[in-house]
């Protein structure tokens, strides 16, 4: 099963932030309610959240608009990463959105919106992360190729982000 990380949403409806988002989508072989619960139930979430080798400790998880999920991710090398997620929309089993930061009062690094679509008993999950500014993204992708040493970086970035239009 492959994950498509795409430019402006292929399977997803276009949005006004399309020029500055990273979109990840995948179909899971499980019913929508279960997949939604996997995102929103602290017992479930510790079973899969984060990259390979990471574990998650939840200190507080209040899944409703304005509620907070405060958790620490423990990296395989022993580094701890505090995370502070504030939920915006919670519509079981269709939609979930949050602002993802590191601590209360800090500006969020990303806004994420997840949609859960039923596809004949399987579930398509589409996660959109909005990159803080389109301008920054446009700049690094389009205008920065001339910088020696930055070329690889910019190519990497261009792969991850949508190109306008």
């Amino acid at each position: 099963m492959t994950t498509e990380s795409t430019a402006t949403g292929t399977a997803a409806a276009p949005s006004d932030t399309a020029d500055r988002e990273v979109v990840t989508t995948r179909v899971f072989d499980a019913p929508r309610e279960l997949v939604f619960d996997a995102f929103t139930d602290s017992a479930h979430v510790s079973g899969w959240w984060g990259p390979r080798g990471f574990t998650t400790t939840t200190h507080e998880m209040d899944v409703r608009p304005g509620g907070v999920w405060r958790h620490i991710m423990h990296g395989p090398d022993g580094t701890d990463y505090p995370n502070y997620i504030v939920y915006r929309e919670v519509v079981r089993p269709e939609r979930l959105s949050w602002a993802h930061g590191t601590a209360p009062g800090e500006p969020a690094s990303f806004d994420a919106t997840v949609t859960f679509e039923d596809e004949g008993g399987r579930t398509r999950v589409t996660l959109r992360s909005v990159f803080p500014t389109a301008a920054a993204r446009d700049y690094v992708v389009r205008e920065h190729g001339a910088i020696e040493g930055a070329r690889d970086t910019l190519e990497r970035l261009a792969e991850h982000l949508a190109s306008p239009g």
Partner: protein, 116 residues
Amino acid sequence: MQQSTDPLSVTLSALADPTRRAILARLASGEASVKELAEPFAMSGPAISKHLKVLERAGLITRGRNAQWRPCRLEAGPLRDVADLVERYRRFWDESFDRLDAYLADVQRKQKESEG
């Protein structure tokens, strides 16, 4: 954009202005003086200087130390930080989804067993 002192936010807000991006694009082809930078933009020296201060604070440019002619030079480091952040985030979800796939299979198998 919220005012913030974290380096990434400072980089992003410095990049949010089209004139500043154009200045950086010009500096990508080599260092330049304030006067050279001001010409194509039809802006006053002070207006350009204000933009240069923002870019300098964000670590996106450095200025030469010669008092007569302080050439501006592009620094790519902060841009790399932005790119790295985006890449880390994408990898986070790719790998999380791999794990979620396995986890959901496991949960459903256990459910079947307990019903069975």
